[in-house]
Symmetry: C2
Subunit: 116 residues, 2 copies
Amino acid sequence: MDELEIITALTALAQTTRLQAFKLLVTHEPNGLASGELARQLEVPHNTMSTHLAILTRTGLISGERQSRTITYRANISRFRDIALYLLRDCCGGRPDACVPLMSDLIPCCTPKETA
Amino acid sequence: MDELEIITALTALAQTTRLQAFKLLVTHEPNGLASGELARQLEVPHNTMSTHLAILTRTGLISGERQSRTITYRANISRFRDIALYLLRDCCGGRPDACVPLMSDLIPCCTPKETA
DNA sequence: TCCATATTTCAATTAGTCTCGACATATGGA
DNA sequence: TCCATATGTCGAGACTAATTGAAATATGGA
């Protein structure tokens, strides 16, 4: 995981359709979604979707598996975690005060919530 | 903090010079670095640096303050934290299993280390 | 005021990205 | 084999971003 990989991953996520596709795939874990279904839900032509999915796949953020005629894409959560971690380390390494409050913010979002 | 802001922030960081400049500013908190000093250290022309700094400033990731003839830029860590948090929430909201291991990975990088 | 330093803005070129029609490939069934 | 469905690849046009020389602005000092 070097800086070039981080740039590539950030570039991949810095585009509306791709970010939305990735988010959609995250919420559909672990089943995944077919390429055509993603295109339909995000209202983009199938070939446009295909291009974006290829870019996300190249970064390792998602992966596709053929199942007869459809190709089911799934989010690679651990890859996303690695990228986020690398990015955060650049802050935390030099600045622990950036990371500690981040964690305390993350705790409520990661534990099963009841009302809030 | 909406999706467009996230896209803008990711775009800002998805460029070598800008990511390096941001990292450099993070490590120079809380003193900051002058525009010209950043250009020198990253070996880019001063006007190129200026353009990149303007892009980072627009996203709120950094901010500059004039001090006599130099303009000192500083990283806005809390802004970075907000962006990271928003991005992670898209995972954590649907997938707590993405976030919990991330936190355990972050703990060693945020606490004062002794050997590891 | 005049000059030197620090930084930004402008303008133009170059390079890269996004989009999508048209075509190609892959699979399954009649 | 032939057709329908699902997805990917190609290529062209439109758009956006990156780079940098030259000029402009801002500050401080002689």
